[in-house]
């Protein structure tokens, strides 16, 4: 019962944030000099009279707040407008890209968290030993590397030099399987995934690792850990207990991490030529295809906000103390 109340409050909070984000985006994209008629058709190419008719048709002559309400309403019903560049409905263009992005991002995020938590637990548990000191410094390094540079290095080594993996993209045109395993469904996508996922995991793993390590060190000093040892719990059981209790900060962080992942995703997709939303966004911004740019931007922001909500809810579920506050 208390949990549902808590969930409802958090959901309302998220809804408000989403509306504010929309408003922010609306203002942001109105920073562009000119309006869609001039951007889409170029200045001076259309007689003023025709431009005026278009403005009326598109509702650009109405007050700003009315335009915003229409805009928000359309967005929420899935009408994202027409792409200036592709001359097709934005949703038709963005939707497949969104799926492609998820195909790349999901393994990156999942593997990063699993690996980060595992290694972080291991390092934190060995606190004070020489190996922990070295490990902590080694863990800092990949966090400092620019993801696109890792991408470039991986491509140069494993795609161009060794030719183990494709040089980019998501699938190969005219891919003909040669051996049995190459005939497996998704084999082609999987081998395209290896390098981008490796680059993504290398850079995203460090944060959950460091957070888990710090949280574990704190937890190790708690009374219940001494008590667990007194109860004769095995070393492995003690470590699992510490990990379980140290996991909550990582969970909180993982929402923020997904936010960062979207940023990293843009870079990953560009380097590896992955046909996802990040690359679409960069291209549409360069081509001044603002409806598409807005849509991609909004999807990313909405995903971050929604994930924050999900994490809050998971937190309430995993830590029974939260719900009562």
């Amino acid at each position: 019962m208390a949990f549902w109340l808590f969930a409802a409050r958090r959901a309302a909070h998220t809804a408000v944030t989403l509306v504010l984000l929309l408003l922010f985006m609306y203002v942001l994209f109105r920073l562009v000099p000119g309006d869609p008629t001039t951007i889409m058709l170029g200045t001076g190419e259309l007689p003023l009279e025709a431009q005026q008719r278009l403005r009326e048709l598109w509702g650009l002559d109405r007050p700003q707040w009315q335009q915003f309400v229409t805009y928000a309403g359309n967005l929420l019903t899935g009408d994202l407008g027409m792409s200036f560049y592709f001359r097709r409905p934005v949703l038709e263009i963005v939707w497949p890209m969104l799926l492609n992005t998820l195909v790349l991002m999901t393994p990156v995020v999942v593997i990063s968290i699993v690996l980060g938590v595992t290694l972080g637990t291991w390092l934190g548990w060995r606190r004070g030993e020489r190996i922990e000191e070295i490990g902590a410094i080694l863990a800092l390094i990949p966090r400092a590397l620019p993801v696109f540079w890792i991408g470039i290095v991986l491509l140069a080594l494993f795609a161009y030099e060794l030719r183990w993996f494709p040089i980019g993209g998501m699938r190969q045109a005219f891919f003909f399987p040669e051996t049995w395993y190459q005939e497996l469904p998704f084999f082609d996508i999987a081998r395209h995934l290896v390098l981008p996922v490796a680059a993504g995991v290398l850079t995203s793993m460090a944060d959950p690792l460091m957070i888990q390590r710090t949280a574990l060190i704190e937890v190790k000093h708690e009374d219940f850990m001494v008590h667990a040892r007194a109860r004769g719990l095995s070393e492995g059981a003690q470590r699992r207990l510490a990990r379980r209790n140290a996991f909550l900060p990582v969970l909180t962080y993982s929402a923020i991490m997904v936010g960062f992942a979207f940023g990293g995703q843009v870079l990953l997709e560009v380097v590896f030529n992955w046909p996802g939303m990040g690359r679409l966004m960069v291209n549409s911004v360069s081509q001044r295809d603002y409806p598409v740019a807005q849509a991609t931007f909004f999807f990313m922001a909405a995903a971050v906000v929604t994930l924050n909500l999900l994490v809050d809810l998971a937190y309430g579920w995993l830590d029974p103390r939260i719900r009562h506050e």
Partner: protein, 333 residues
């Protein structure tokens, strides 16, 4: 069954080693009860952890031995110790609030403990329900989380958990701290009932001599990591031989003598990182003599059961007389 033989414990800190416990010798027979009293920071909790072979990484046994049924705990490998823990010796810590795993239900904590020693979940559930009834809790609390219970319920659940394998030694470290008076009473009554049941030996740690007097047949008074006085509780508190015990005794209300004013011993315990020369209590002792500041008095047996570490143990009767004056304690500094 539990024997501490000349135990010294040193903490490694950034500002150098700190001797928390020096040369403590104690013994606790099967079914017996021993109280450790002293102010906070006197080394009682460290001794409790040493008795359980649970010293933290930064502390080490610098000398002496802790024996459980004649077995030297320091000589046992961790795997052997793990088997002894909770089956032979159990622990009720200071704060049940912090010692229970916050994210697990009580059932889970009983089961995990049981599993660590090869007991099946079904049997653990059965034992847990019986033990909870023994500590006068409803078996329904098994499915509660620690934060959902009151302080007294948590502490009683903690005791039930300690009894899971019917240990022969129970170490209770200030188990009533932070509880209100009525709940304190319940916990103490419970421990008194359990003491000696099935040969359970109790090592009880407290700063409250009243509670120790009620629960323990024997007592050791600790100051600055050393035993100042030890012996049967009844005689130690009725005829203290050490000035520190005399002061400590006057620091708690006595139901038998409600007219007595409560004193506090002026000054603070010495910093263990730089202990004073001679008797550690000398700086606060109202009867201090030059010899006290020079030579550390050894712990000497004054009768079959009693031992005292004071140069003036022969004059104890006279000192007890002088100690009755409350003004004496406030003047000393």
């Amino acid at each position: 069954m539990l024997a501490l033989d000349d135990v010294s414990i040193v903490y490694t800190t950034r500002s150098g080693p700190v001797q928390a416990v020096s040369g403590v010798t104690l013994s606790l027979p099967p079914g017996g009860s021993l109280g450790l009293v002293g102010e906070s920071g006197c080394g009682k909790s460290t001794l409790a952890l040493a008795a359980l072979a649970l010293l933290p990484a930064e502390a080490r046994l610098a000398g002496g031995a802790v024996r459980l049924d004649g077995q030297d705990l320091a000589a046992l490998p961790e795997a052997e110790l793990r088997k002894l823990r909770w089956t032979r010796m159990a622990y009720v810590p200071q704060s049940a609030q912090n010692a229970l795993v916050p994210v697990h239900s009580l059932r889970r904590q009983f089961r995990d403990t049981a599993a660590a020693h090869g007991m099946r979940s079904a049997e653990a559930d059965e034992r847990a329900a019986a033990l909870l009834r023994r500590v006068e809790l409803d078996a329904a609390v098994l499915d509660r989380f620690p934060h959902e219970l009151s302080g007294g319920m948590r502490q009683r659940a903690m005791i039930a958990l300690a009894l899971l394998f019917g240990p022969s030694l129970l170490v209770a470290d200030e188990p009533t701290t932070g509880l209100d008076v009525i709940v304190q009473r319940q916990v103490i009554d419970l421990l008194r009932d359990l003491r000696g049941e099935d040969g359970l030996a109790l090592l009880f740690i407290s700063h409250d001599i009243g509670v120790v007097a009620e629960l323990c047949s024997h007592v050791a008074v600790l100051y600055a990591g050393k035993v100042m006085e030890s012996g049967p509780t009844a005689t130690v508190f009725s005829e203290p031989d050490h000035p520190y015990t005399m002061g400590l005794q006057r620091a708690f209300p006595d139901i038998r003598h409600p007219e007595r004013s409560i004193v506090s011993i002026a000054g603070h315990p010495p910093r263990l990182s730089s202990p004073p020369k001679g008797c550690p209590f000398a700086p606060r002792c109202p009867f201090v003599q030059p010899v006290c500041r020079d030579t550390t008095p050894p712990l000497v047996a004054v009768s079959d059961a009693r031992a005292v570490a004071c140069h003036f143990v022969d004059e104890a009767a006279a000192l007890r007389e002088r100690a009755r004056d409350p003004a004496l304690w406030d003047e000393a500094a």
